[in-house]
Structures are given as C-alpha cells and as structure tokens.
Subunit: 493 residues, 2 copies
C-alpha cells in the first residue's frame, strides 16, 4: 500500500535572496580562453566566516537531537530514481546523476537520482535494515539535498537539511516529542519568538470529504495544494484559484460559491480563538459527526496534553487548520515553524507523520514522524535577526616570520604551541612578507597574540608577545610561553 | 597558462570491500509492485554505530586542522563542468547533474557536474573571491565527491574527503606544514605505524626528460601514469607495460631495453638507503647536471630541514622517487600515506602542490599545497585495525513506559533530565511494549540507567533507578534524580 499523494513541492523552501536559476546566468568562456569561476545558478559556497557560524548552529541542533536520544545516520546522495518516486510520475523536478555519455543510463531501473530530502532515503535505509534495527529508530541526519528549482523563484538547487525522525512509534507521544525537540532546538539557537503551527492530514482529509472529495484523490490533493499557498497569496488568492482561475493547472474542478464558503469557513475556523483548547474544541465541533476528521482532532488532543507535560509554553504552538505542508507523504500531524520577527522566510523547521512511506518497499505501514530544519533558510533568517555571528579568532597565536633563516625556529615554536592545544599560524605569504603585512594578516585572523622571535629573543631565550586587544607587548620566557598564553586565554592545556 | 596534465585517476581511492558498480546490480521492481530498497551500486549509507565512530574520527581531524590555523569552507557539489575539466577533455568519468528531461541541458557551458574532489572547487572559490581573501588562505573542507568509477574495480562512486590546503604560500614552509599536519592527524587518530612517502613532480619531470620526454607532454604523462601503478602491479609489471604490452592504452610509445633500464634505475634509486639525508643525496647526484629535477631535489631538501624542526620523527616519512600521484594538477611536492599494518588500503591521505590550478580561471599562477584524507578508506582501514569503535551509550537514561496513562509523567521526567544535560528516551515502540521488551531496547541503546516510575513511586516522590552495569536497583528521590545520575556518570550539569 502506498498512499503518497502527488502534491507538488512548489511551496517548499523558498529562499528570498537568490534569483539565479541553474540555467539562467551567462557562464560562457571569456574570450581569453580562461574559465569563468562561476557556480551554476542555484548552487552556493559558504566561506569561512559563514561556516564558523553555521557549524556552531549545526552543533547546537545536534546537541539537542542527542539529548532526545537520536543517533546519526548518513544516507547516500545518489539513490535509485524509483526509490525516490515510488515508481510513480515525479511530483517535482529532481536532479539525475549521470556518468558521462559513454555510459549507458537509459534503463529506468538503473537511473541514479540525487535525493530531494532526507526522509525518503531514511525510509529506504529502514526497509533494507528492518531485521537489525531496534525500533523505535531515532535518527538524525544532516546533509545536502537537491531539487530542480525554477530559475525565477529564488530557490537553491542544492541546500542543507537537518532532520530528526522517530520510526516505529505510533502517533501521540512520538509526535509530541518531535515538537518538544523542535522547541528545544529553537531555544538552543537563542530564538524565543517562534510559533510552531500544527495541523493533521486527517483533519484536512475530513474537510476534503466535506466538499465531496475522496481522501487521497487527485482532487483532494489539488485542493490541499492550493490551500498550501495561503502564506503567499492569502485567503482571497486561494479562493480565487479554487473558483477556477487556475483550474487548468491545479485539477479538473472549479468550486462554486457554496464550496468556496466552506473553504473560507474551514480555513478561518479557529481565527480569534484565545488558546489551543478552544481551537481544538472548535475543530471537534466541526467534525462532530465523526469520521477521519474527528480522528485527526483526537490525535491533536493527545499531543496537546503531552506537550504541556513536557514543558512546552502554550504560546509557542498553535492548532491551525490552514496548514497543509507540500510533501505528499504525510499521513497525520504536520508541523511548520515560523519566526515571528522574520516571517518572510516562511517555515524554517517543518515535518509531520509519514506512516506509509516505508510501505512502498515493504508493503506494510510503519509508523514514523519527524521534522527537518531548513538549514540554509534558518541560517539566513538568523543572520538577518543578527542572532548568529562568528567573531572567534581563527588562531590563538600568529608567529611573524622576521627572518627567513629562522624558519626552523618558527616551526619548533608552532609545534610547541600546538602540542599544548593552542592554534598557531606562521607567516608564509607568497606576496608582501613585511612585518606590517604579516601583522595585518594576524589581525585578519583575529589572533589574540602576535609573536616575534628574532636573533635577540633567541639569544635571551624569550619571545615578544603582542596582545592585539590591549596592544601591549611583553617579553615572555620561551619555556613559559604556552602556559602564559593559555592562562591569558583563561584555558588550560 | 594551464599546465594540468591529463593523467588519469585510475589509481585514486580504490576501496577493497565493495565490488558493486553503479550499473551492475539487478535492481528491478519485484513482481509484487514494491520498490526494492537497494542503493545504486557504488553508493553507500552509514548506520549509527559506524557514524558515531566516523564522526569521532572527523572531529579529531578537524581539531588538528584548527590547531594549524585552517578555517572551514563548504563548496557546492554542483559545479559547472568546464570549471572541473578546465575546458579540456575529461581525464576521468564524472557524474553530470541533470534536471529531468523537461529541462534543456544541451549547452555545454551550462552543464552541471558533481565535483570529483574538493581541490578544484577550492581553486574556483579562490579565483572568484581573490579580492576579499587574505592570503595565505588556509582552509579545511569535509564533503562528498563523486566519480564515475568502474563496476569491476571495487570503488565507490560517492565518497568523502577531508582536505586541508594552504593557498598563497610558496613551496617550502607550507609543504612542510602540510606534512606535519598529516603527521599530527595520524597520531590524533591513534596511529603511530604510518609512513608518508614524498616525491616531487619536478623530480619526475627531470626523470622524464632523461628518457627524452618533454615535461608536461602526453608521453611524459603516460609514463607517470604507468609508474603510478607500481603499488598494484609491481616494478616488473610497470616495466612490462612500458615495454609495449599496454602501449595502445597508455600512449604511443614502447620503451626499448635502455629506457627500461633507466626506469628501473630511477624507481629503485633510493632502495636500501638508511635515511632521508642519504636518499636526498642520491637524488641530488642523479640530477647533478641541474635542470628541473635538481630544482625538485632542492625543494625536498628545504622541506626536510623544516620537518625536523617541527618535530617530525625521521622514520615517519621517506623520499621515494617512485611516487607519482594520479591527479594531473600537481606541480611540485606530492605526498602519500600508507598504513604499515594495513598496506592493502593504499594511500589513505594524499596530496601535493598545485601552483597552476587557479590559473585556469585567472591566468596567473597562485602557489598552493594541500592534502586530502580519504575518509571512507581510512575509516575502513581503522576498522580493520580495530582502532575505531563506538561503544558510548546512545542515551544516558531510558524511561520505561510502565503505564500508558502516566505518559505525561514520563514526558515531565524526560524534560527534567534533558534540561540538566542528560540524554533521555521514553519507551514508545509500535510493537511489544512489555517491560521486558523495553528493557531490551534500553540495553540496545547501551543506556547506563533504566528508570521506572509507576503509581507507587509517584506517591512516594521517587524513581527506581536500575544501573545496567552493576544490575543494582535503587530508589532515588525525584528531586535529586538528575544530580544523582550526573554524579554517577562523573559529570556536572
């Protein structure tokens, strides 16, 4: 059984900064025979300052994931295409990996495609290793994923996700743990003003049934896909599309006034209600006749009680019936996280329950739930909020090359410092090797100490230490140097 | 100017374990309509136990790289093809990244290809950011690279490298620092029995000139390519190939007896000599008439003196004129590292100087040198040497779900423990939820503590703590629990 809906990913992971597409930019050789050092549009590098801040962010997330008992997994970027599509027409543009034309790659079953998320590769790994995994399997994974994004829409073709999932635990406690984990991650990153929006695919399916669409049908999927655009085009935009404006794109239906009113009523059902208890009560009333919608509400009620027990502040999450999530594989609760001070970045941390994903390999459902940090997007948002920066030094000590002939002395000094846990760099530029230029390099490295060692110092058994913060310069006996620097840095070897 | 030689990569990164190729394995849908949960041949996942050990290894390497003043860079996997090839015919099989057939990708300049190493993307980044980089640029990068490896040869198509490079520092000190860094990395990984083999492309070019080949010519490149196989096919194999056996594959020459004797003489030139001083003296004598070969020897002499100053034990490195390295972009010293107790893994840590790589973008040479850990290969070797393992617990405390109705209590307990820096998991399997099954899960996690909390304990304000090492079970007051566990673990919150 495989009930994955062909909902598109058009609303996944927009990144507002980049408007290059993979095939838009001019990247011809220049006339002088040199290669233009450009990336393909939609791809990006991260320089050292960004990376230092980014890695600090990733480690904070990992620390929280570990505290919830998640363990690391690394899945292959290259996957068989049918693993990713489930053998159905692809609902999004993916990147195939093809060896040079000399290799035959026409066989569809042999087609290699880059993963578009970390969830499908997880499901594949679980299916292949069913017998040796002790469930629940709590794994985290950080890695790049690839999507054939459109040039115009300002999205990246290669971007990083950082996921945590619990496979083999039914709805209720596991979903609540994922939400608590998301909350802990946001707080560990220094963010307090965020809101996790929760809905349930069963609630949405219950609503789709109300307007006459079979859950899981193409029509229901098209309806959810349009509703999912509410963040971008607003409620009126959603209603306009459903009225027929985009019917040719989205499906073979056009809503009449009564159905449009039903959509408006459902999407605004919980507007203005003060707390989640009220919102859940309103939803419960909406599905008073039972069915799949009522099941969804019951799931959300269970989660609500556990969130409160786990210490989730009640104003950090909200039940929101308008949340749909783009990915087709969700089957139960779905989550989105918005930054209240940077809403334009959209959801930075999203997920949901996908009980049927492993079934495409095994034929049997396996309960699973998780969430994924959109690393690049969250990082961009944190940069805008000035909540991340990397101001640490690259090295602790920069050794000025005063005399080429003394290079062996500088090597010995660097080795001593490094053996004591200090980071050390020796001046060795290919350009200006003046002391002034080397000191500028030391300041570029934000080195707290610049070390001078010439003939006089060697004769005296000392090193001149310049403190770049105080600008004071002192003589330190060579034998006491490492300890002295460690003490000044408030560290021990 | 771009003098990159079209030397093939046929000898790069063989991995002895895997004999699947990307297009070899049968990966058809099975008859029941299910998708086979297989990876494409040549691709791999890493499960949690491996990952924990692997990440410990990566962090040890990073710590050393940081101590040498390297800072992180992350380059895009997707690169423009001509950036990777330099606009020349590719010397190896690469993986193109192509969006679904609906996208036009016929324009060669727009062709996106997955990086095959981390060095060319570094050169591209440097060329694009020349104006804002303060040289020398010391960067490290860990990431996956992709090669279209042959099915039969037991190599991976996607594998990880971990590089450190110094861009903007001429030969001498920077090369010695790279070798000292390689030494520190090996020792940080607990390996003492390794040997770094060093040669210089100028020495090889000097030798090629001796047998009548212009340095950088196709013939010289073909000669080096055959010599590079010595590890696999032995000296006699090399001589047999050069005698004409494989002349149709390797070039348009066949060596006569005199040339073959010259090859044998050169490749065994330093055999049996006791130390590097003797080996360098022998090489110096070989190039007594000067020229490019003598230049190479002088470079190696400078490096030798700095290695000794930097504390490199003299028996950890050797000058070896038979070392060629596969990659075409090397211009000066080249390095390989073999594990003396696991030589079959070949070189696990290799590199060299590539002064001309940035020139394909800028037209100007920029001195650069670096080395790359073959992470997967080194990890496989360390596993075989039993030098890595991950035996740490996945969690500190496993909370048994004794009573479904008490789940909110378990959530509150887990939140308390996590707030105190402890890793906690609550039993929530989809299968057997008996206490016995949950305890088996706790043991699978290697949890040092299993916690029991039922009605009696709640009434008494206590938790039952089972120590899985001693098997002793004690009552601990709830309010003192986190502190008690931290104390027993010898940690503080």
């Amino acid at each position: 059984m495989d009930v994955v809906n062909p909902i598109s990913l058009d609303n996944e992971f927009p990144l507002p900064e980049d408007d290059r597409g993979p095939f838009q930019e001019e990247t011809m050789n220049s006339q002088n025979g040199l290669i233009k050092p450009a990336l393909p549009g939609g791809f990006q590098d991260f320089g050292p300052r960004e990376m230092l801040a980014r890695e600090r962010m990733l480690r904070a997330i990992e620390r929280i994931y570990r505290s919830f008992g998640f363990v690391p997994l690394q899945t292959s970027i290259g996957q068989r295409r049918e693993v990713l599509t489930g053998g159905k027409p692809a609902s999004m543009r993916m990147w195939d990996l093809r060896v040079d034309a000399s290799r035959d790659t026409t066989d569809e079953a042999q087609r290699v495609t880059a993963r578009f998320d970390l969830t499908v590769p997880l499901a594949r790994y679980v299916a292949e290793n069913m017998g040796s995994i002790r469930f629940p399997f709590r794994r985290f994974e950080s890695g790049d994923v690839f999507r054939g994004e459109s040039p115009q829409k300002g999205r990246y073709c290669e971007f990083r996700q950082f996921d945590a999932d619990i496979v083999g635990a039914p709805t209720g406690p596991a979903d609540a743990e994922i939400m608590l984990c998301m909350t802990s991650v946001m707080r560990a990153l220094g963010i307090e003003r965020f809101l996790i929006k929760v809905n349930d695919r069963k609630v949405l399916n219950g609503f789709a049934a109300r307007v006459g669409f079979e859950p899981g049908s193409d029509q229901a999927a098209a309806l959810l896909r349009v509703m999912d655009k509410v963040d971008k085009i607003g409620l009126d935009g959603v209603l306009a599309e459903l009225a027929g404006k985009a019917a040719s794109d989205e499906g073979s239906f056009a809503f009449g006034p009564e159905q449009l009113e039903a959509v408006r009523g459902f999407m605004t059902l919980t507007d203005g209600l003060a707390d989640n208890a009220q919102r859940l009560a309103r939803l419960k009333g909406y599905f008073a006749e039972g069915g799949v919608g009522a099941e969804g509400v019951t799931e959300l009620e269970t989660i609500a009680s556990l969130l409160s027990a786990g210490g989730m502040p009640s104003d950090r999450w909200t039940v929101d019936p308008s949340i749909a999530r783009g990915l087709g594989y969700y089957t139960g609760p779905v989550f989105e996280t918005v930054l209240l001070d940077a809403p334009k970045f959209g959801s930075v941390y999203s997920g949901g329950r996908f009980d049927d994903l492993v079934a495409r390999f095994t034929g049997m459902s396996l309960p699973a739930v998780g969430a994924s940090v959109g690393v690049d997007r969250l990082f961009a948002a944190l940069q805008e909020l000035k909540a991340v920066s990397a101001t640490e030094p690259d090295v602790d000590a920069f050794i000025i090359r005063m005399d080429e002939a003394l290079m062996p002395e500088y090597f010995a000094l660097a080795a001593e410092l490094r053996a004591n846990g200090l980071r050390a760099e020796i001046g060795m530029s290919h350009q200006d090797m003046s002391t002034k230029a080397q000191m500028a390099t030391a300041l570029d490295r934000r080195a707290p100490f610049i070390l001078f060692l010439g003939g006089n110092e060697i004769a005296a058994g000392t090193v001149q230490v310049k403190d770049t913060a105080t600008r004071r310069q002192t003589q330190v006996p060579r034998t006491a140097l490492a300890q002295e620097l460690l003490t000044r840095l408030d560290r021990t070897a």
